[in-house]
């Protein structure tokens, strides 16, 4: 069988080699990933694709210095060589370390977990999958999208983690995802949309997403965006943001700046640092309405897991509670520095990457209002349902979201579409301006990039619809 456990003797060999070398800590993480993709591009089937990756990553702590080595040659001599290499690397830099590295003490446990799957994607007939993406392509074309790329993929990742402390965790993660790139043409030129769906689940998610209805709605709406020539209002205005926009805000303006490694400067050379400092726990950053949670245990979440890649059992983390910074995302290294326990935020994207702090499923807690109630109380404002362009500075303070599907609100009613409204705002102003949230909770899937070499982590982000009072809006 092609799974990590089938190579378990190699992980044990790595741990034995590390133990004999006298390391303070050692871990071996075997990972086998298999993915299959089918895609259609403007009426034509793209190549059928399979990816199969597999190998072992070995991390050691020697004299307060971290070494990491990996290989995809799954043979005894290559694995032993990698184990010794990780020790050598850690030792080589140990005499230069100015900030000694240590790991928090965590429960030593053995565990086994796998994704709950109702319909195994590999059992679904290929012809059904091809028929599905062909149908979606036809729907998008009929609704006015002359260019489109639609893809479905399924993946299975099996992993086995052993540490010199005695942790032994094995897992099997099944994911399905859908991506759509649509282009519509109209009176105002073109409009483009990227749609991403993803769940840690079996093929049943495909039915759950109601993809034909989704694509019909998205394509129709995009065509209307391409026809729209009405400029948005500029200046201070009330603003309603849909769950898709709220989700990306939670991810970019809360999740990333509250990663403890970023707070400590670990990512400074690439993804940057953070406006948050270690002393800011309890700091009021938003209104009482703002509570943001990162929860790896959500059923079907694209970023879900039961144990992180350091073997710590996952649980929800409340990052901002009633507007106050409440908790950072930690792995064992940052937890040790902060004098706390890891909250299971270490993820490694493949055998050849070391575990670093990542988000999982990050969302804003829903409120008490209906969507209609949020709109009713806006005399003159804007509703942004979705976005294309966004970015944020590398301290996670100055951010921008450019609306794609956006509407004017007049006297509590949604009126005509408007083109490209721009929200450029600080994190403090954004979270401080939220005065109400709706009852619903929706998620979008994404691949979050971080680390060097780059690690793309599947995540969910989401939230309710929210209302912001008197924020500055501009236009493209």
């Amino acid at each position: 069988m092609d799974s990590a456990e089938a190579y378990g003797d190699l992980a044990e060999l790595a741990i034995k080699t590390l133990s004999k070398s006298g390391v303070e800590y050692g871990e071996a993480r075997l990972c086998i990933e298999k993915a299959q993709m089918l895609s259609v591009s403007t009426g034509e089937i793209e190549p059928a694709s399979i990816i199969r990756r597999g190998g072992i990553g070995i991390r050691t702590l020697v004299k307060c210095s971290l070494g990491f080595a990996s290989t995809n040659i799954l043979r005894g001599n290559a694995v032993k060589e990698a184990a010794l290499k990780s020790v050598k690397l850690a030792k080589a830099s140990s005499h230069t370390i100015k900030a000694p590295i240590s790991l928090s003490t965590e429960e030593i446990r053995e565990g086994k977990w796998r994704t709950k799957v109702t319909e195994d994607p590999s059992n679904v007939p290929v012809e059904d999958k091809i028929t599905l993406i062909r149908d979606l392509d036809r729907i998008a074309f009929d609704e006015g999208c002359p260019k489109r790329v639609l893809s479905i993929s399924e993946s299975m990742e099996s992993s086995l983690l052993l540490t010199t402390e005695g942790i032994k965790i094995s897992g099997e993660t099944v994911r399905v995802s859908f991506t759509g790139l649509l282009t519509a043409m109209g009176n105002s030129g073109s409009a483009q949309r990227i749609i991403q769906k993803g769940e840690t689940s079996g093929w049943e998610s495909i039915a759950h997403w109601k993809l034909p209805d989704l694509i019909m709605g998205e394509a129709k709406s995009l065509k209307e965006v391409a026809e729209c020539t009405t400029s948005p209002p500029v200046g201070l205005t009330d603003l309603i943001l849909g769950p898709e926009v709220v989700g990306i805000i939670c991810h970019e303006a809360c999740g990333h700046p509250q990663e403890a490694d970023r707070i400590l400067g670990r990512e400074a050379a690439q993804a940057g640092e953070s406006y948050v400092t270690p002393e800011m726990l309890g700091f009021k950053i938003g209104s009482d309405v703002v509570t943001i949670i990162d929860d790896p245990t959500l059923e079907r979440g694209f970023g879900s897991y039961l144990f992180d890649d350091e073997g710590v059992r996952a649980h929800p983390k409340t990052l901002i509670k009633d507007g106050r910074i409440n908790e950072f995302l930690h792995n064992r290294e940052t937890a040790s520095l902060f004098g706390c326990r890891s909250n299971a935020s270490a993820r490694a994207m493949g055998y050849d990457r070391e575990p670093i702090i990542r988000m999982s499923n990050t969302y804003m807690r829903p409120g008490e209002h209906t969507f209609e109630e949020l709109i009713e109380e806006v005399k003159d404002g804007v509703f942004i349902r979705s976005f294309m362009e966004w970015n944020i500075d590398d301290r996670r303070w100055n951010q921008r979201y450019v609306g794609l599907e956006a509407f004017r609100i007049i006297k509590g009613e949604i009126m005509e579409r408007i083109r490209n409204p721009v929200l450029e705002i600080t994190t403090g102003n954004l979270f401080g301006s939220v005065d109400a949230a709706s009852r619903e909770l929706e998620f979008e899937a994404a691949i979050c990039g971080k680390g060097d070499p780059m690690q793309g982590a599947p995540v969910w982000h989401g939230g309710p619809t929210i209302r912001l009072r008197r924020v500055k809006l501009t236009r493209r």
């Binding site: 399979i50 199969r52 040659i73 050598k88 400067g265 100055n398 921008r400």
Partner: protein, 450 residues
């Protein structure tokens, strides 16, 4: 899988072709050794090594295409996966596009400085380079610095059913230092090359520290249009999107701002852009692409006029065009044309002349997070980071913050008003396509602020 030989690959390819009745195919194997040292706040945080052998296969059967990217040395497993793909292909319609992989054999020649054994030093030497960068950043004026040093060695082998066989060996060194002078004042400098020629870790650290020091005491300005000088780091970041838009695949799917613009003016006449994996010292050097086509210099934009897209055998047949030696195996696209080594022709300016000519404007030394509202029109924004400076009375003056470039890529290309003769290779975390970048002067670049 090890040791690899072209004979082994030929045997594997023939076996797969026979067993699964493949019409045409290419098999690429890359063996790599990578070393990386990461540091932050002047201290090494991780020392890493990864070794990989990756097999990539692209094949065509009855005009249906399939791709596999595999990390396994077990022949039975490879055969089983190819069998699954051929079963899937039975349910796919044949492509209406008649295309064929290039017929070999070809002579691939050599590229200067593609492999430099001096890069493959031991751990202690790498640590010396890192410490030199850290210490020099302090001499430049930094309080602390972070960064990454990476050395890599690649061996790449190719075998195609159409008679192409080749192998190449390359090295790469990348060093970046991001220095901080206070919490908000930072500067980055980097070095990227296939050889050790010209590598001076002290100079990298010193320049990063110097930019960080100068970027203290930031002030805010109002947004608007400014004549702006873009540092090679920024140019490389923007050229990544330009390179992607030159890919015929992007054109085909409607994600290129060069769609329907062949032989049209797309930039200022002073701008010429090429993709040349044969440029000596390029960190993106290759002798051949994954279809077996020899790499060559491709002029993408010639004095402002769009002259060529980058093609694979499939896009060349579909859109009309000739092979450019740019096709690399990827999922789910089969082979995809990708720029490997972008070169901007040098201009006549020195940086000093450019600054004097601008008189009043902005100098941007680095940026990140480039995102598009519309890839077809080129509407985008990106965020300056590290040192961003006012230019006043023809001199670089105070440090500024809180800016965002919000503009259109075609408008920026058309507004290029100056290019320096001085260029440097940039390949970094947020600019992955190696680019030989000058400083570029853009007229009336739009900046927004909060």
């Amino acid at each position: 899988m090890t040791p690899i030989s072209l004979e082994d690959m030929g045997r594997l390819m023939r076996r797969l072709s026979r067993k699964w009745r493949i019409d045409e195919g290419c098999l690429s194997i890359v063996e790599s050794w990578n070393r990386m040292i990461r540091f932050c706040n002047d201290s090494i945080t991780a020392s890493k090594f990864w070794r990989q052998i990756t097999l990539a296969l692209y094949f065509v059967k009855e005009n249906r295409r399939a791709t596999a990217i595999l990390e396994t040395h077990e022949i039975n497993r490879i055969e089983e996966i190819i069998g699954r793909l051929t079963s899937t292909m039975k349910f796919m319609e044949a492509s209406p596009v008649e295309f064929h992989l290039p017929k070999g054999p070809f002579q691939y020649g050599a590229v200067g400085d593609m492999f430099d054994e001096r890069i493959l030093v031991d751990e202690d030497r790498l640590i010396d380079w890192v410490e030199a960068g850290i210490n020099s950043s302090k001499e430049g004026g930094a309080e602390r610095s972070s960064g990454v040093l990476t050395t890599s060695r690649f061996r790449r082998y190719l075998y195609t059913t159409e008679g192409c066989e080749g192998s190449e060996e390359a090295t790469r060194l990348e060093f970046s230092v991001r220095a901080f002078s206070d919490k908000n004042a930072s500067g980055e400098e980097n070095f990227s090359s296939s050889s050790l020629k010209g590598f001076d870790p002290n100079a990298v650290g010193m320049e990063a520290g110097s930019i960080a020091h100068k970027s203290r005491d930031k002030t805010k300005i109002k947004g608007g249009s400014f004549n702006a000088i873009l540092h090679p780091n920024v140019v490389a970041n923007l050229m990544e999107s330009v390179g992607e838009s030159c890919s015929a695949y992007s054109v085909d799917i409607g994600f290129s701002f060069f769609s329907d613009k062949m032989r049209e003016r797309v930039s200022s006449p002073m701008f010429t852009l090429r993709d040349n994996p044969r440029f000596p010292g390029s960190p993106g050097s290759h002798l051949f692409d994954d279809e077996g086509c020899p790499t060559r210099e491709v002029t993408l934009i010639d004095e402002g006029v769009l002259r060529s897209y980058l093609h694979s055998s499939y896009t060349a047949a579909k859109l009309g065009g000739s092979l450019t030696g740019s096709a690399y195996i990827a999922t789910p696209t089969g082979t995809i044309p990708i720029a490997q080594s972008l070169i901007i022709d040098p201009g006549d300016y020195t940086l000093e002349e450019m600054i004097q000519e601008v008189r009043e404007g902005i100098l941007v030394t680095n940026n990140w997070y480039t995102r598009f509202q519309n890839y077809l029109t080129g509407d985008f924004s990106t965020i300056p980071r590290d040192g961003t400076f006012k230019i006043e009375n023809g001199e670089v003056s105070g440090s500024i913050e809180g800016l965002r470039i919000s503009d259109n890529m075609l408008r920026i290309l058309s507004s290029i008003a100056g290019i320096t003769g001085q260029r440097k290779w940039v390949r970094r975390w947020d600019a992955e396509t190696p680019t030989l970048s000058p400083y570029i002067l853009v007229k009336d670049l739009n900046f927004t602020t909060i």
